[in-house]
Symmetry: C2
Subunit: 377 residues, 2 copies
């Protein structure tokens, strides 16, 4: 390959394998080794291992187990002690199902850990465990992050905002309906709204008071005020503008305009999910573009931030990290890339005289690959 002008084609393609994992396939196609016919090669990657720590909700167990199986990952589950018996029962069902459908896999694919002491030991195993997903409150997430060098995926808190824009219809019941859904559908969820920002212009003419009254009538037990709203609307002052209530309470604050709302969200939010209520498309666009959160909505409840509703089937959690998966994490967030190249003896040798082109090409036939994979088992 030294000397003359030669061309090497690198053919990259992302394949979805039968086991649900994706693989980046790369072929160096050299003119003297032309591809014969398109082909697929099976993937038998060794699985990664996930450690997922969740608090009281045992319904997380079957969801997470399903995603781990679908993505070919090994799984260590640590449930909360409040639901220890439910978790043990669900774990037994999952293990039985694996054994009955895939006896060769065996029940060991998914482990259940019960004692808190075990978790400390597991968090040290950064050579064995590939990803930790803590599902629980701020204290759990911080404790896990500080105790391990394994990558941690998740969110510490969900201080979600809704902003009633100056361009929102002067329809107080419509605003109440969206905010009440976002707060009351499941107040303990991370995607429940915690802070409602209201444009001062919209709140004028008694609409601010009517919104508060409407929320209370809908079932919001406590409406605390930020500094401006406490003064203008006579609300009890909120202790902090970054509060995740987890119950039928919220903070309401008045802001002068949309840029101030975005600034407030970046200052006090958690990067999880924020929504604007507006009839003005320009305001909606400015909000959707300007707010830097995992999920940004216009005219919809923050409760839509959910793996099932987004079509991921289920979720192992919602990430506010800026790398890997962001937002609801389903199967894709549990996959990794692998670059595969089939050559014909190519060397780099300083790349003298070689022109690289990068085009999508059909893969050359790889006779016997199925057999080879079989021989590996």
């Amino acid at each position: 390959m030294e000397g003359g002008e030669e061309e090497v084609c690198v053919c990259a393609r992302r394949e979805k394998e039968r086991d649900g994992r994706e693989r980046e396939t790369l072929d160096l196609i050299h003119p003297s080794h032309p591809p014969s016919s398109p082909s697929h090669s099976p993937s038998l990657h060794s699985a990664g291992v996930l450690l997922i720590i969740f608090e009281s909700r045992p319904d997380a167990l079957p969801q997470i187990a399903a995603l781990a199986i679908r993505s070919g990952n090994g799984l260590i589950l640590k449930g909360g002690k409040e639901a220890a018996r439910s978790c043990a029962a669900l774990h037994a069902v999952v293990c039985d199902a694996i054994s009955s459908v895939a006896p060769s896999v065996g029940p060991g694919l998914i482990s259940l850990v019960t004692s808190r002491a075990d978790v400390g030991e597991l968090l040290k195993l950064d050579d064995v465990i590939d990803l930790v997903i803590p599902r629980g409150g701020n204290a759990l997430v911080r404790a896990v992050s500080e105790a391990t060098r394994i990558p941690v995926l998740g969110h510490a808190d969900g201080v979600c905002h809704m902003f009633v824009d100056a361009g929102a219809a002067h329809d107080v019941p419509a605003a109440v309906r969206l905010i009440a859904d976002a707060k009351l559908d499941y107040p303990a969820a991370c995607n429940a709204v915690e802070t409602v920002l209201v444009s001062s212009a919209w709140a004028a003419g008694g609409r601010g008071e009517a919104l508060v009254a409407g929320l209370r009538a809908a079932g919001v037990e406590s409406v605390f005020g930020g500094p401006a709203a406490a003064a203008a609307l006579g609300l009890p002052p909120a202790a902090d503008l970054h509060t995740e209530y987890g119950c039928a309470a919220l903070t309401l604050e008045l802001v002068p305009d949309l840029p101030a709302a975005i600034h407030h969200i970046h200052e006090h939010g958690s990067g999880h999910t924020e929504a604007i209520i507006t009839a003005d498309p320009a305001a909606a666009a400015a909000f959707l573009n300007g707010v830097d959160s995992a999920c940004v909505f216009a005219n919809a409840s923050t409760r839509f931030a959910d793996g099932f509703r987004f079509g991921l089937g289920a979720e192992v959690g919602i990430s506010t990290a800026r790398i890997h998966a962001r937002g609801p994490v389903g199967v894709e967030g549990l996959l990794t890339a692998k670059w595969v190249m089939r050559g014909g003896g190519q060397v780099v040798a300083g790349d003298g005289g070689v022109t690289y082109t990068h085009r999508a090409l059909p893969l050359p036939a790889a006779a016997g690959e199925g057999g080879g994979a079989g021989a590996e088992e």
Copy 2:
């Protein structure tokens, strides 16, 4: 939406924006709010901030700067003191270029840090910096990982393997050519081969000795032996089977068969890049499927594991992590997802009577979005 049977379509689509960033767009399309016509909405995400610490090679600076600009990320660079003046000169060129092409961005997009003390302070800023990429030896990567809670992308070491399979042609010069390229093209590179595994069957009949002689003749100054090769071929024993020489030296070891080679790689490798030399497609497939590394090659030099050669344009580094980007990291590895939803007042309300469908649909027109984005600036 409560009560009757209603259908909400969630339309997801990954868009590549003008600034090179990708965005996941999601539309809740409700029959009573039909889409009018397909539309694109501009993306003005606030950029993330990268901290990239590299050792002596100043050529990394323009590559990394280009990828950061292309992906819309802010960048803090820390070069090694050996190349401080080259880095300062390159940094000035990059800043001038940004100022001349995009005066509104200004030169502050890319910072250059020179003192080691500054790095310690920067590594504490996990609320400001989104990703750290250390490019250097094992000691640097470990020191960075231990000193920060910011996600770290990269690889601690590159102990790459090449395996001469029993099914390789009995062509010693061809094997020498591939291995010599992988070792000698750039011995200090992370994708240079460090350990050559040779099938005992292939090595028989004097080919093991001929391979060693050929490698020495090609310029490999030291060939150390693993336990079996030291005994069988009279090689000086290797100190450790996990050694990254970084110079014209390598370890050679004999293995009984392909499964033993794969086992050796998983036991002593670093998950970076491994290659098999074989004429047997089944063996190639078994190796490519069975070896769990970021890059796996058949019949090509390990030196191909490179962002430029893979068609990424350049690379900020090569990752052996199992989350986020794996292998050479270009623009895609510096992007994050954002879920955007435009609704028409939808609430969750327990999802009673709602059927979710998830299909790719054209986006509804979002009149005024461009103006809104403009108004945001």
